[in-house]
């Protein structure tokens, strides 16, 4: 595998995790436009741990995920008083604040960025992606997931039948923050250099795009969306300067003709059925 292919594959993996972090929140009916903020926390914390404190990478990633998850829960308490587009705007503000914070934080290099991380292979990235995909897949068939869907469908009704909707939403928020942090830690150790500009609004939007394009009703959709988002611009190389425009147009077309995203349960069932028949 050439370095170029490996790098693309690693990017797909990292984006898949970012997309999954949005997917988990979306499952409770809330939209986050600030997950790049949690990604930044994970990236900087994991890098600081491996470079300055000499912690092994895997432990650093776990610690970063836990810390970010706790921050997510702490932010979730006040933020989840807000709903819908207001929560989305608050998370947007959170993401920009975190970026601005790292821009001013001298111990992590400020605007100059942070480096010194050891490069990790694409295989290591995908082990994490695989683990978290399995975790999400297991969650999707759990009771907790049903409660999350209930909150998404009708929060008042979910409350009335005795579900603790606040805890469900905060739990989802915390898990989302943890997954985004892993994505950030892997990003930092794959690209071996990070700067606050890596974790801006565009990154948060990429996560949301991957989920919506790939399919927001099923975890594997994030994988499809991430692959599309990373690999498609490479395929559009012939268009040269007009690549972004072609991509934007394609995005609009997909939303118009298949708004549930490319992958949904009925499509997946058809695929698995065909495989069984063959």
């Amino acid at each position: 595998m050439s370095t170029y292919t490996a790098s693309l594959l690693a990017d797909v993996g990292i984006l898949t995790l970012g997309a999954l972090s949005v997917y988990v929140i979306l499952a409770t009916g809330q939209l986050s436009l600030g997950n790049a903020g949690f990604m930044a926390i994970g990236a900087y914390l994991a890098s600081y741990l491996t470079v300055v404190a000499g912690v092994p990478l895997t432990s650093a990633l776990v610690i970063a995920a836990l810390c970010s998850g706790i921050i997510g829960v702490m932010i979730g308490f006040p933020a989840l008083r807000l709903k819908g587009i207001f929560l989305a705007m608050a998370t947007l503000g959170f993401g920009e604040m975190i970026r601005s914070l790292f821009l001013n934080l001298e111990i992590t290099g400020g605007a100059g960025g942070f480096h010194g991380m050891a490069h990790v292979s694409v295989t290591y990235v995908w082990i994490w992606v695989g683990l978290i995909l399995v975790l999400v897949w297991l969650m999707e068939s759990s009771r907790a997931w049903l409660e999350m869907r209930a909150v998404a469908d009708d929060e008042t009704a979910a409350n009335l039948i005795g579900l603790n909707t606040t805890m469900t939403k905060i739990g989802a928020f915390g898990m989302s923050a943890a997954v985004a942090a892993v994505s950030g830690g892997l990003f930092a150790h794959h690209h071996v250099y990070i700067e606050p500009g890596n974790f801006g609004f565009e990154r948060s939007i990429d996560f949301v795009l991957a989920v919506i394009l790939g399919g927001s009703t099923i975890g594997a959709g994030s994988l499809v969306g991430a692959a599309l988002l990373v690999l498609l611009p490479e395929q559009l190389r012939a268009l040269d300067d007009w690549r972004p425009a072609a991509f934007g147009a394609l995005l609009i077309i997909v939303l118009l003709i298949r708004r549930q995203g490319i992958l949904d349960r009925s499509l997946l069932r058809r695929f698995t059925f065909r495989k069984q028949a063959a």
């Binding site: 979306l26 009916g29 809330q30 939209l31 006040p78 933020a79 008083r81 807000l82 709903k83 819908g84 587009i85 207001f86 929560l87 989305a88 705007m89 608050a90 947007l92 503000g93 959170f94 920009e96 604040m97 970026r99 601005s100 914070l101 821009l103 001013n104 400020g110 605007a111 998404a152 929060e155 609004f201 565009e202 939007i205 949301v208 795009l209 919506i212 300067d241 007009w242 690549r243 972004p244 425009a245 991509f247 934007g248 147009a249 995005l251 609009i252 939303l255 118009l256 708004r259």
Partner: protein
């Protein structure tokens, strides 16, 4: 020095006000975040820039920016919003994002990614008022903003079209039962919003005497914060919040360093969302927002 900073802050705030109103019209009436507004603002700026450097008068430049942005906004509404009206709120938001990617790409390819500078001959003189000096262009920015806001206020409050807009904002279905054409009002809202964004773009080009394809992302996102701070349910909150944020921003840059500017603005926005979600000027019982 402080007075001078205040004047600069108010000028920047005037642009924020227009842009926040632009976001607010679509948000207030349709409940969606139109992310393409940031790029309509940028395109408006380039159009106005082109007119000014062609030695045409300033009103023509503002009109060109407004007309161009309104026309593009109408296209966005027809392709990107109307077919997705009944989809979850994220979907039309992302389709407007698709348009903003396209618009930014067009601008980079047409005008390059380097900033374009307004030649000195267009800069105009400065007027000294005691210790403060105001650029003629700064006065124009503030003046145009006041005129546009007044026109907007008149349209929304006094005309039958404005009444229809407010009716649809209140309850789309009931408004339609009463004979208001929902789709026509939606188109009107998008075009008005586009026109304001375009005008704001021309004004920012005049204010900075320069324009880049990235001005939309830089200023546009912050206009969302201004809209929230002013209150999404009350369009006029932007009149207070725009200058407020403009001044706060200029003061942080002058006395605290440019790096913490964004931190202050977004921190303020989150505080408002948490403690006063109806915004500074909002009434009680503001809409808490729909599910996405």
């Amino acid at each position: 020095m402080l007075l001078q900073q205040l004047v600069n802050g108010v000028t920047l705030g005037a642009v924020y006000t227009l842009l926040a109103l632009s976001f607010s019209i679509v948000m207030g009436i349709l409940g969606i975040l139109n992310l393409a507004i940031a790029e309509l603002f940028m395109i408006g700026g380039y159009l106005g820039f082109a007119v000014i450097t062609a030695h045409l008068s300033l009103p023509v430049a503002v009109a060109a920016g407004m007309a161009g942005a309104a026309a593009i906004s109408a296209v966005i509404e027809k392709i990107g919003y109307e077919p997705l009206r009944d989809a979850p709120l994220v979907t039309p938001m992302l389709s407007t994002l698709g348009f903003s990617i396209i618009l930014q790409n067009i601008a980079t390819n047409m005008w390059g990614s380097d900033p374009l500078q307004l030649p000195d001959e267009f800069l105009g003189g400065r007027i000294a008022l005691g210790p403060v000096s105001i650029g003629e262009l700064q006065l124009i920015v503030i003046g145009v903003t006041i005129v546009l806001v007044a026109v907007m206020a008149y349209i929304v409050q006094r005309t039958s079209m404005g009444r229809a807009l407010r009716a649809v904002a209140e309850n789309r279905d009931v408004a339609r039962l009463l004979g208001v054409s929902g789709s026509r009002i939606t188109l009107t809202a998008f075009m008005m919003s586009g026109a304001l964004a375009g005008a704001a773009g021309v004004l920012i080009a005049i204010h900075y005497a320069a324009i880049t394809p990235y001005v939309g992302v830089e200023i546009g996102l912050k206009a969302i914060a201004v809209m929230v701070i002013g209150g999404t349910s009350r369009i006029w909150g932007a009149l207070l919040a725009g200058p407020l944020i403009g001044i706060a921003e200029v003061l942080t840059v002058a006395y605290g360093g440019s790096q913490i500017r964004d931190f202050v603005v977004y921190g303020f926005m989150i505080a408002i969302l948490l403690f006063r979600p109806q915004g500074l000027l909002g009434g009680s019982g503001a809409d808490q927002g729909q599910r996405v």
